[in-house]
Symmetry: C2
Subunit: 209 residues, 2 copies
Amino acid sequence: MLTPRTGGTRRSAKREAVLDAAQAVFLEMGYAAASMDSVAARAGVSKATVYAHFDSKDQLFAAVIRRRCDKSEAFVLADRTLDARAALTLIGRRLMDLLLSPEALAMYRVVVSESLRQPELAQAFYDSGPGAGKAQIAAIIAELIRRGELAAVDPRRASDQFVGMLRTDYFMRTLLGLTQPEGSRVDDVIDDAVETMLRAWGTASSPPR
Amino acid sequence: MLTPRTGGTRRSAKREAVLDAAQAVFLEMGYAAASMDSVAARAGVSKATVYAHFDSKDQLFAAVIRRRCDKSEAFVLADRTLDARAALTLIGRRLMDLLLSPEALAMYRVVVSESLRQPELAQAFYDSGPGAGKAQIAAIIAELIRRGELAAVDPRRASDQFVGMLRTDYFMRTLLGLTQPEGSRVDDVIDDAVETMLRAWGTASSPPR
DNA sequence: GTCTATATTTCGATAGAC
DNA sequence: GTCTATCGAAATATAGAC
């Protein structure tokens, strides 16, 4: 009879605690500034326990990033009854909520800074983050084109441009920890991006303004 | 009689050598991984000399970033004879050359990763980089609107969106050190951004396609 | 697996001679 | 200002008991 592997290596409670603590510390402090001591302290275990589960700081970091990438979900589901304006606005809202969340921003900062040192992690981050998002939005745009709500344009190109118009100054300022100018609102960014998309690629069934 | 200040503090040859070395090391390795020893070695001076000119690693880093920000030039001058398509394409080309340059990418990586720890540097970087670029492009777009080449739209908003459509997937992949997909070209990104801008905000004098 | 205690290295910063 | 030499702290990683 097989044991339930309660004390197993891959999924012990302490191992998960270490991963949770490491994620918090790495995202808060950045890779280099995060010490294995602080990870151990935060996890409530000894440093030797950390090294019992992960060979090195590099591998622990890799495990944190990969786990987070695996967990990233499809952030948007197309409601087939929505017209282009409503669909794009909804996508925009969800994407902005995701991009501007403290965790996503922290993840972006640390992965970008370590991307050259750990190329495989950069690839994993891209595939599960920007890459997956681009594909999802492209699929929805392709559907809108099929329904005649948007003009015929390469969906991946349109997805790129739409995301680009969302990830502008507002995102940059938030990423850098700066305050937003008076009266700057996320909803305006979204509405403006949708309007430009519709003006450029809208059809009679989805008029701008 | 005043001395020529050859041995002065603010502009000695060694001080400049330290700054040059520090810039190279910080941008290559990131703030935390860059050691004062490596800076001294690269500058060809002793570590004590580094500390004779800069009180701490933090202040040396700040001096490097500020110097680089001060040096950032106006990257684009409007040729008043260009129509909207030509002007936007030229701006796009210059901006992409700048954004995709190894030094700008390295600067972006290190400033983003240290932005929360050094808020004043984040502000200086934004002001002299993204902020200045946005203002410059907005001014050119305002001129195009004045000449009837573009429809009436908030120039700063249009600038944001245009830059956003340039800084898309291609930029992200380069930033992360990933290879570009087969057949992916910078000029296509620029042309696509220009076309969408003109379709959305072009006039009879600047028709799309 | 998990702990305490420690080995070893590296780093930021300084003392003191010139 | 500049150097050599070094201090003290903090970091990664490991040894050995249980």
